[in-house]
Homo-oligomer: 418 residues x 2
């Protein structure tokens, strides 16, 4: 008996990923998956595939009863959502790599899966070759996932690596990333953290059943990080990484954000260099797991799509266990974070907002402090990312509500204030 579904694919998009997938499928006949038609925007562009494969009419794919899988690897979020909605409603399974679309339309995408009972798989949308979604779905049960932290954006990680290893400044490192194809010509989405928070939004759904618009998650990119910050990090034996993280607090709620962070050299994430991604999961049963691989690029992304196609053959669906089978977790802002802040002038820093300040260095042009802030402050105000101010989380930045009083007292004692 061979229960495997024969996959007849309608592919949207033939950029680096789409073409990568086409090539990969040609080299993996065992999958019994074939692309019947590819919908593209620009029919004039020369393609490395037979002309009869292409169309510009999306309905040729969406209304073709032979096509049972739509693979969507286009860049624009709104057209992607339209394609995905129609495909699911037309009874087709969907594989998508559009992180922005998924993040921005999360409730609708979830609703459509329920409504149509079709599969919607998107391993390629986050960390590409790292099977993070499937692992979060299969390995972890709600109460057991203590924390997850990850480097989910390869461009920023490449830039930070070059700032540290080759002592480039931010602009030089960005230029190099662009030259090597690790950053877009308009790098804003990557550099300012939008791409990372988009991915984090739906990874939080798979990890904790949290359904939150990316706009509601506190995030920043690496655009404010300066060579001086890298020097301080090096002095303290830290790297700087853009870390997406979520942690279950003692009050049962979840702290989650995407922010630059000082990372110790023996931290798993310090191991993740250049354009690579990495995910560290701590749980009650599996203990600590670390996944590492390429998070972007034509073939790594195509390989993730391939693994989703492979799973479709046995009707695999995400169950969103933490969302539907449990009481979903809630996000909270009710905790504190230890932060490093560097700045040009004290006037930009609302010192009174800090619970306490542990270090201050005002001797140079570029000043900095280390102190503890209520997380609410990051959420409600923007001084920490304006006026050339740079905020970087300390290692183990999260301080729980229940610990703050004790720590504050200790800190004030150390400073000789009480």
């Amino acid at each position: 008996m061979d229960a495997h579904k024969q996959l007849t694919i309608g592919l949207f998009g033939f950029g680096v990923v789409g073409e990568g997938l086409y090539k990969v499928l040609q080299q993996t006949p065992s999958l019994k998956a074939s692309i019947k038609k590819v919908c593209i925007k620009n029919p004039e562009k020369k393609r490395n595939a037979p002309a009869e494969l292409f169309t510009t009419d999306k309905n040729e794919l969406l209304n073709d009863p032979d096509i049972n899988v739509i693979v969507e690897v286009i860049n624009e979020s709104e057209p992607a959502f339209e394609i995905v909605s129609t495909a699911l409603k037309n009874g087709k399974d969907v594989v998508s790599a559009s992180k922005k679309m998924i993040a921005e339309h999360l409730p609708e995408v979830l609703g459509l899966q329920k409504l149509t009972d079709r599969s919607f798989l998107c391993e390629a949308a986050a960390c590409a070759s790292i099977p993070v979604i499937r692992n979060l779905e299969e390995y972890y049960d709600n109460d057991l996932l203590h924390s997850i932290k990850a480097i989910v954006n390869g461009s920023t990680n490449f830039i930070l690596t070059k700032m540290f290893e080759d002592k480039l400044d931010f602009q030089q490192a960005l230029l190099l990333a662009q030259q090597l194809g690790f950053a877009e010509s308009d790098p804003t989405l990557d550099v300012e953290g939008y791409d990372a928070v988009n991915k984090w939004a739906f990874l939080l759904t798979h990890a904790y059943g949290i359904v939150e618009h990316p706009d509601r998650i506190v995030f920043n990119g690496i655009q404010n990080i300066q060579a001086g910050d890298a020097n301080v990090a090096t002095e303290k034996h830290y790297d700087i990484k853009l870390v997406a993280q979520a942690k279950k607090l003692q009050n049962g709620k979840v702290a989650a954000f995407v922010l630059p962070q000082f990372v110790k050299h023996d931290d798993h994430l310090a191991f993740v260099k250049n354009e690579y991604n990495g995910v560290v999961i701590e749980s009650g049963f599996a203990d600590k797991q670390f996944f590492y691989g390429k998070g972007a690029g034509s073939f790594p992304t195509a390989s993730a799509v391939l693994s989703d196609l492979s799973a479709l053959r046995y009707q695999y669906k995400y169950e969103y266990k933490k969302l539907y089978h449990h009481k979903p977790q809630e996000l909270t802002n009710d905790f504190y974070v230890r932060v490093y802040v560097s700045f040009d002038d004290w006037k930009f820093i609302p010192k009174e907002k800090f619970e306490w300040i542990e270090e201050w260095h005002a001797e140079t042009d570029r000043k900095y402090l280390v102190g503890v802030l209520p997380f609410e402050e990051l959420r409600n105000n923007r001084w920490w990312r304006e006026n050339n101010t740079s905020l970087i989380l300390s290692p183990d930045a999260v301080i729980e509500d229940v610990e703050i009083r004790k720590l504050k007292k200790k800190s004030l004692e150390l400073a000789g204030i009480v």
Copy 2:
């Protein structure tokens, strides 16, 4: 529609893993999997579960039509094979953690899966919490897997870590591992490499479609490694790891073995310390992936069983694509390895067997050399693991047949011989 199979489990074994699984299942009600009966050997032993759960009669489980899944986590290989065979023949799916049984009965286990069309899942049998089998099955197609190397035995990795980080000698490190529960009271299986090569035998099936008895795979453990070897490694800025590896050669065949190896500090495997396991996979599409996690222990192993149970609900089966959908790969001995050998006396070393020797150090009590051997020599003779001789692979040890002449010439030139 909820197509999920309700899982009614018959469990064999209630040691640390069996009891771990019992506890884990109690904490994961969403899985809708319940243990109906547990078969144990010793009814006198006090168990942390209701008495009515237990039986000593295997047929109570194997012949119960309600039970649709047999989970087998016992230690002895032959009884495990009997249980697995009967369960599959009786139409039940099977989850097994018995690496020795799987390795030794590989052709029969494969045959039974074909014959019965039932699922046989064994993620827990190799690297526990690291989903290596599922990834090899889902992510990699035959022609694309360039290489896989792994640390698959936590006991030996713990011992080696302690030899390096705390400068313990082998016996001290072994004792510590035993005290902490990372090594058995009879450590032979772990220390001498049997456990690692057993896992490697069936991982080779998932990776390359190779079906080979573990006896036919060249392996060694770490029993011969001495403090002096660790000193040499430290001088050369290497760690020593017990590395299971397989590499596709230019002639299309596969080199595979389990041997101690010098590993550079920036190698992914150097990152794997103490009782952890790690797997590095290099492939054409996904590029380089690295998986890291606990490879043994009650909960990590139970979590792997759990993920198999979760997969059973949607009738997941291993496809053994590389075995059935492709021409399976063949193992070869037709290559060379660069090795470090330390020894007490030259008389134990057949110098004439080396293609060339690059370094020799005879000034101390403990002598050593670095040279290149035909791999056949390791396969056919045992001098390299007898008489207190210790053989450790160099980093990037494999030298292909097509490269050997060029390298030999270069080496002899360097030595001033030609």
